[in-house]
């Protein structure tokens, strides 16, 4: 903050008051001196005026020698306490009329008038009638004694001193105020600086914390890869092995189905795992839907049961008329899977896992809150109190290295929180663990979607699909799938190739393109194609894409990798149907 330099004006202000006081004092003293000097002259003047008035009033009396009249006129002056003696004299200087106070006798003749004394002023005024002097008036007046004058001066001086004091006080006050003001300004300035510093520190701290979190996340991710790689290897072993076995000639139908099923299920689990990872790295868009949880659970049982093994029994206790909730279906599935897998891991000797759903309402906070509770209960090893306290922390795991990532329950926690609900876990050693998820009821109606049970329901097939995929294996796989569905495939290995095909006049019904490709990406390709053919059906596919995740695909349907056959069929059919 820039402060204006107060030095110059304040100095001026600092001297103005004393200057004023000094001038006032000097002026006062000078006035007193002048007054004193002119006092005597002033008094003489006053006395002369009095004498002149007397002279005028006795003119006729003197002229016609009327003593009584003259005496009357002279006596009028008695009211003045200052006049010591007053006398009227005839033209010869003889006393004609007059009076005197005790200590100042009136001279009988003018020639005998005494010399002036300091304390007395004597004046003589001629009595003139028509230009002729016919007599004289004599007045002797007392000057104010010095004591009286000094008293008068003292009063004036007092007034001046008081005024000066007031001025001085004002000036002092001003100075003090200025001082305080400048100090306050200084303080404000340093406060502002300190504040800025503090804010800066806070921001730094926040930044540092964020960086730390990121670093921790990175570190965790690094740590994860070990475990994940291990898990994936296992799954790949199953898939690889099953595929190898499938290649052998002369397989029985039963075996073929078994091996294919193994591949499908394992792939599904792998997909879930990648889903977990992505959720943790917060790169997955939440797409809540209005769901009937009971339906979803029923659908998942088919997937869950095989992976539980023979020793573990899965029981469902689902309340009829369960209220709908609005949650992301993928996240829901991942949540249930995580909990069930934990329960399975806690029962190496076998046991029972119960999934129970109920409608619940609470009056917490004075409002009638309606929610559903999803309870997963196991008869497993349980956890001690201390472990229960850490159980939702990311990377916290009780499993040995490579067996668990520690992400499962933290995903559950995140899912519950994001969906506006909560999760609670209770456990007892050797008794088992109960996980309760509360999800708020939604007023919207669920769309009954059939999942898992959908078979190859592609209506037509028979369309030409422009397949754009840079990865050879994935492209081959997709081509095989599409062929299986009854579509013919036009293959391009990147966006440029696709555009060239288009330019050369290739005809097709739908575009199925990967998003992340070298050069032009899938979204840009889609936009370019749409410019010429606005109605062109385009389906995007991606395993992981920043752009889609952060902005959502701009109006294009997206199928995420890995995709099942049914999903692919459905989305292609939908796209074709929409265009038709």
């Amino acid at each position: 903050m820039n402060m204006p330099a107060p030095a110059a004006p304040s100095r001026f202000q600092a001297i103005i008051v004393p200057l004023m006081v000094a001038s006032l004092l000097i002026a006062g003293l000078w006035l007193l001196y002048q007054n004193e000097r002119s006092y005597r002259a002033e008094q003489v003047r006053i006395t002369r005026v009095q004498a002149e008035i007397l002279a005028a009033s006795v003119t006729a009396a003197v002229d016609f020698r009327d003593r009584a009249s003259a005496q009357e006129a002279v006596n009028a002056l008695r009211v003045s306490s200052q006049i010591q003696s007053a006398g009227v004299y005839d033209v010869k200087g003889e006393r004609f009329a007059g009076y005197q106070r005790s200590d100042r006798p009136l001279p009988p003749t003018l020639s005998r008038a005494r010399q002036s004394v300091d304390k007395i002023i004597e004046v003589t005024i001629p009595v003139i009638r028509s230009g002729t002097k016919i007599g004289t008036v004599y007045l002797a007046s007392l000057i104010d004694p010095l004591s009286r004058r000094l008293t008068r001066y003292a009063i004036i001086a007092l007034l001046i001193v008081m005024t000066s004091l007031v001025l001085g006080l004002l000036g002092y006050n001003q100075a003090v105020l200025r001082e305080v003001n400048s100090r306050l300004q200084d303080q404000a300035g340093s406060l502002a600086v300190a504040n800025r510093e503090l804010q800066f520190q806070m921001e730094e701290r926040a930044r540092a914390e964020e960086q730390l979190r990121q670093a921790q996340k990175m570190q965790a991710l690094g740590q994860l890869t070990g475990g994940i790689a291990h898990d994936f290897n296992n799954m790949l072993t199953v898939i690889q092995g099953s595929a190898d076995l499938l290649r052998r000639p002369g397989l029985s139908e039963e075996k073929r189905l078994r091996f294919a099923g193994a591949i499908v299920d394992t792939a599904a689990r792998a997909a879930l795992l990648t889903g977990q990872l992505l959720a943790f790295a917060r790169r997955q868009p939440l797409r809540p839907e209005v769901l009937d949880i009971n339906q979803r659970i029923r659908g998942m049982v088919n997937i869950l049961e095989p992976s539980l093994g023979i020793d573990i029994k899965l029981v469902t206790d689902l309340q009829d008329g369960l209220w709908p909730v609005e949650v992301d279906p993928g996240q829901l599935e991942a949540t249930l899977l995580n909990i069930v897998m934990n329960s399975r891991d806690a029962m190496p000797e076998g046991g029972t896992i119960t999934i129970r759903t109920r409608n619940a309402s609470s009056d917490a906070g004075g409002e009638n809150k309606q929610a559903i509770s999803v309870v997963i209960e196991d008869t497993g090893l349980g956890m001690d109190v201390e472990t229960v306290g850490h159980v939702f922390e990311p990377f916290f795991t009780t499993k040995t290295v490579g067996k668990g990532t520690g992400l499962g329950l933290s995903q559950v926690y995140g899912f519950a929180a994001q969906s506006g609900g909560e999760v609670r876990l209770t456990s007892q050693i050797d008794k088992g663990t109960i996980v309760t998820i509360m999800l708020p009821r939604t007023d919207k109606r669920p769309i009954t979607a059939d999942l898992g049970a959908s078979r190859l329901t592609s209506q037509g097939g028979g369309g030409v699909v422009l397949l754009v995929e840079d990865n050879a294996q994935v492209g081959n796989f997709a081509e095989a799938l599409l062929g299986e569905l009854g579509h013919s495939v036009l293959r391009a290995h990147d966006a440029q190739e696709a555009l060239k095909l288009v330019q050369n006049g290739a005809s097709f019904d739908v575009v199925f393109t990967d998003v992340v490709m070298p050069g032009m990406n899938g979204i840009e390709l889609a936009d370019t194609l749409r410019r010429d053919r606005p109605e062109l059906p385009i389906v995007l596919t991606t395993g992981y894409s920043d752009r889609i995740v952060t902005t959502g695909s701009p109006g294009y349907p997206v199928i995420t990798k890995p995709y099942r056959l049914e999903s692919l069929a459905a989305i292609i059919d939908q796209a074709l149907a929409a265009a038709a």
């Binding site: 003119t59 006729a60 002229d63 016609f64 009327d66 230009g131």
Partner: protein
């Protein structure tokens, strides 16, 4: 010495006494006339003369109409007086027919013309008429009278008003009585 001795002594003493008294009263009379003589010219200073009655350069005329009781005293008083720029002149006349030019007229009254007749003749003219109680009861504008041994005067302001003369209040204040000039 014969038997007429004590009687003549008595007569002599009486004569002396009378003479003495005479002398004393004569002295008093002298003083009185002297004062009146000094007053006479002074009156003019307290008169508001109408325009034209007193010209600037000419002396002020004090006339004695009839036998002069003042004599040299009046001349002396006139000589020593100065009214503004005017000197004072004394004129002695025997009748009012010669009164033109007078400013102040002392009406002595004579066998030829009595004071009353003089007053009548001068009425309405801008001449200050002065009479003396000694010489008669008729009063002019100013009428000398002794008051407890002092020379004072009565003033008839009404007569003065008739003659278009204004009299100073200071003069009126000194008078024994004042006949007011009436409603203004």
């Amino acid at each position: 010495m014969t038997a007429a001795g004590p009687l003549s002594a008595w007569l002599l003493m009486a004569a002396v006494a009378v003479l003495g008294a005479d002398v004393a009263s004569a002295q008093a009379d002298q003083l009185e006339m002297s004062v009146k003589a000094t007053f006479l010219p002074k009156f003019a200073a307290y008169v508001n003369w109408p325009p034209g009655s007193l010209s600037a350069d000419e002396p002020l005329q004090v006339c004695v109409i009839g036998p002069d009781p003042f004599g040299a005293m009046l001349d002396a008083a006139a000589a020593s007086e100065r009214i503004d720029t005017h000197a004072v002149e004394v004129r002695r006349i025997d009748g009012t027919e010669n009164a033109a030019g007078c400013n102040v007229a002392f009406l002595a009254g004579s066998a030829k013309q009595g004071v009353t007749a003089m007053l009548g003749a001068l009425q309405g003219r801008p001449i200050l008429t002065v009479t003396d109680a000694r010489l008669g009861p008729q009063r002019g504008m100013i009428h000398f009278s002794l008051d407890r041994g002092r020379v004072r005067f009565h003033i008839d302001d009404k007569l003065a008003a008739q003659g278009n003369l204004g009299l100073s209040a200071r003069l009126l204040g000194l008078a024994i009585t004042v006949r007011p000039r009436g409603r203004a």
